[in-house]
């Protein structure tokens, strides 16, 4: 249901249609990365406990490293989206409006 072709009906105004498709693609791609990152981590937590419990350095296990990575990664993905939206998407919307 998220496929861009269905989101934008054929014969849609060109600039609007193209921008709308791009936005959907970026939003869906980033969401998939986020969901893969989190559920990858949770699947390993749920089904690969020995691997996750590996000690990499004194005081540091794999699960702590990856867990902190998911927290930092969530913020970084948000940041990527905001930079894209502010630098590219907003100006493009303004161009179409004017």
């Amino acid at each position: 249901m998220l496929s861009p072709d269905k989101v934008v009906p054929p014969g849609e105004d060109d600039d609007f249609g193209r921008l709308s498709r791009t936005r959907s693609r970026v939003a869906v791609a980033l969401s998939i990365v986020m969901i893969a990152m989190y559920f990858g981590f949770m699947t390993m937590f749920a089904f690969a406990k020995p691997t996750m419990g590996m000690i990499l350095a004194p005081g540091l296990s794999l699960c702590i490293l990856l867990g902190a990575g998911v927290i930092v990664g969530s913020f970084v993905l948000c940041l990527v989206y905001v930079v894209w939206a502010n630098r590219f998407y907003d100006p493009a919307v303004r161009r179409i409006m004017s």
Binding site: P9, E12, A27, G67
Partner: protein, 522 residues
């Protein structure tokens, strides 16, 4: 115990009350219209809203609860920290912009945008109020017992004090006062967490790894490894993850904040700030939890009572002395107060805007009447929260917060997502999906070990033999896909011409906002 009647804690508490009531008085004079009451006139900046979102979202459980779980179990507490954060990017990518451009005060505005108002609003109100009520009960009961623990105030008196203070903020100051209460609370909470984590790290050459290895030396490497505390079977952990991620993205009191800022860019930025604040805070809590493990010890924390909730306050006492202990207690209190105020306000907006204006009055009601209804609803919800808080005293209601996330994920999220992305989505599909999501979550939790074993005290071996037994502690993994399935099946079985033809207009408004639409309509 040393926590009772700490004079410094009570002093800090009075300073906080004086400050927030002063702000409420100031805000009350700026709250004349529904736009101001429900959305602070859309005049909150992205920074303020980012802190306010963090204030709405970080409950006392984020500091006291998770620190306690880490102190007694080690790593496992981080699973909650991560779960509470991962929904935010989803809000950012998929939800916030359509929400801001299509809606006025609630997420039901978006779902009902091109569908029939009445049935969708009623269903959305059921989903929303279920989430809010479950969350409020969990918060009120936790608040009553924590204030008893921190300040030595009797349970019923604590619940009444919290109920009265939150009623005052919401009824007089509306969204503007509530926002500032959230901002102050979030800043205090982050500051308290930062100082506490730094004081801990000073004992370990400012290196968290030294802290973790000290913990591993004292209590074994198991504290750095995944345990079985958070979830029983493997699928339990996945289900918890589904509930936390998609539930966060559909919590009514969080979504409501998208309308308090001037435009879509500010809404987007405020989600980014909130994600940063909440993420950093949870990293600090990880250090605090291990700090309490090494410097206070899990035995002392258990002895202090409150199911591990005293880990962070006791750590503050150990590393920062009596004054800092008082500060952390007062911050915990402010935290609980702010969260219930935000929840109450979102319930009020739902009752007034969705139910009264759009269902009872068919979309048109005078401003004065709306404000009167809003104020009556505030009193009613506050009274209900206090009443339920007292009724559930001493009951095990910890599961209700998790259930609130599961209901949000199963009832609100599918309808919200499909309404903005799927052209064939119909009114019947939306209503069926919301109702199935709500009812199946409530039903499955009752048949799960969460209620059967933890609340009713039956043995796991006994109930797991029953034919109706649901082996998952959190029902989201079953209920959310079920709700999506029902939404798609019912939509395909029904036709709604108006909904399909206005899809394109809706897509334009998602991109250009309301102003462009008004121009196009001329």
């Amino acid at each position: 115990m040393q926590a009772a009647n700490n004079p410094l804690a009570i002093t800090f508490f009075f300073i906080f009350m004086a400050l927030t009531l002063g702000i409420t008085y100031w805000a009350a004079r700026r709250t004349r219209t529904t736009e101001q009451f429900f959305a602070a006139g859309g005049q909150i900046t992205a920074w303020q809203n980012g802190w306010a979102l963090a204030g709405d979202f970080l409950s006392a459980a984020a500091l006291l609860g998770i620190a306690g779980i880490i102190t007694s179990n080690g790593f496992d507490g981080l699973i909650y920290s991560i779960g509470f954060l991962v929904g935010w990017p989803i809000i950012s990518f998929l939800i916030v912009e359509p929400l801001r451009n299509l809606g006025k005060f609630t997420f039901a505005d978006v779902v009902a945008y091109r569908l029939r108002q009445r049935p969708v609003r009623m269903a959305a109100a059921i989903g929303t109020l279920t989430v809010i009520l479950l969350y409020l009960i969990a918060q009120m009961v936790a608040t009553g017992s924590l204030i008893k623990l921190l300040f030595g105030l009797p349970y019923v008196a604590s619940v009444v004090v919290v109920g009265t203070a939150m009623l005052t903020y919401v009824i007089f100051g509306g969204m503007l006062a509530t926002t500032w209460v959230q901002v102050i609370k979030a800043v205090l909470l982050s500051l308290g967490g930062l100082v506490l984590a730094l004081l801990v790290l000073m004992h370990f050459e400012m290196n968290p790894l030294n802290l973790f290895s000290a913990a591993a030396e004292k209590y074994g490497t198991r504290v750095l490894q995944p345990g079985a505390k958070v979830a029983g079977s493997g699928w339990d952990a996945i289900s918890l993850g589904v509930g936390l991620m998609f539930g966060t993205a559909a919590l009514p009191h969080i979504l409501m904040r998208a309308f308090t800022v001037p435009d879509v860019k500010e809404a987007r930025m405020s989600i980014l700030y909130a994600t940063g604040i909440i993420g950093s805070f949870h990293l600090l809590v990880f250090v605090i939890g291990f700090g309490a493990m090494v410097l206070v010890g899990p035995e002392a924390v258990t002895k202090a009572g409150g199911g591990g909730n005293m880990a962070a306050p006791l750590l503050a006492l150990t590393v920062g002395g009596n004054g800092f202990f008082g500060f952390i207690c007062a911050v915990a209190f402010a935290t609980m107060l702010a969260v219930v105020a935000g929840l109450t306000l979102s319930g009020v907006v739902t009752v007034c805007h969705d139910l009264w204006v759009n269902v009872v009055r068919s979309g048109e009601a005078p401003e004065r009447e709306q404000l009167t209804v809003a104020r009556i609803a505030t009193v009613a919800i506050a009274a209900l929260a206090v009443f339920l808080g007292i009724v559930f005293e001493g009951q095990n209601v910890a599961f209700m917060a998790g259930l609130a996330f599961a209901v949000a994920a199963a009832a609100n999220f599918p309808a919200l997502l499909l309404s903005i992305t799927w052209k064939r989505f119909t009114t019947s599909g939306a209503v069926a999906s919301i109702l199935v999501g709500t009812i199946s979550s409530l039903l499955l939790i009752c048949l799960s070990p969460t209620v059967q074993v933890d609340v009713m005290g039956r043995s796991l071996a006994e109930v797991s033999q029953a034919w109706w037994f649901v082996p998952m502690k959190n029902p989201a993994l079953i209920c959310m896909p079920l709700s999506f399935l029902v939404a798609v099946a019912v939509s395909l079985a029904t036709e709604e011409d108006g909904a399909e033809s206005s899809f394109r207009e809706m897509r334009r408004r998602i991109m250009f906002g309301a102003s462009r639409e008004a121009v196009a309509a001329e």
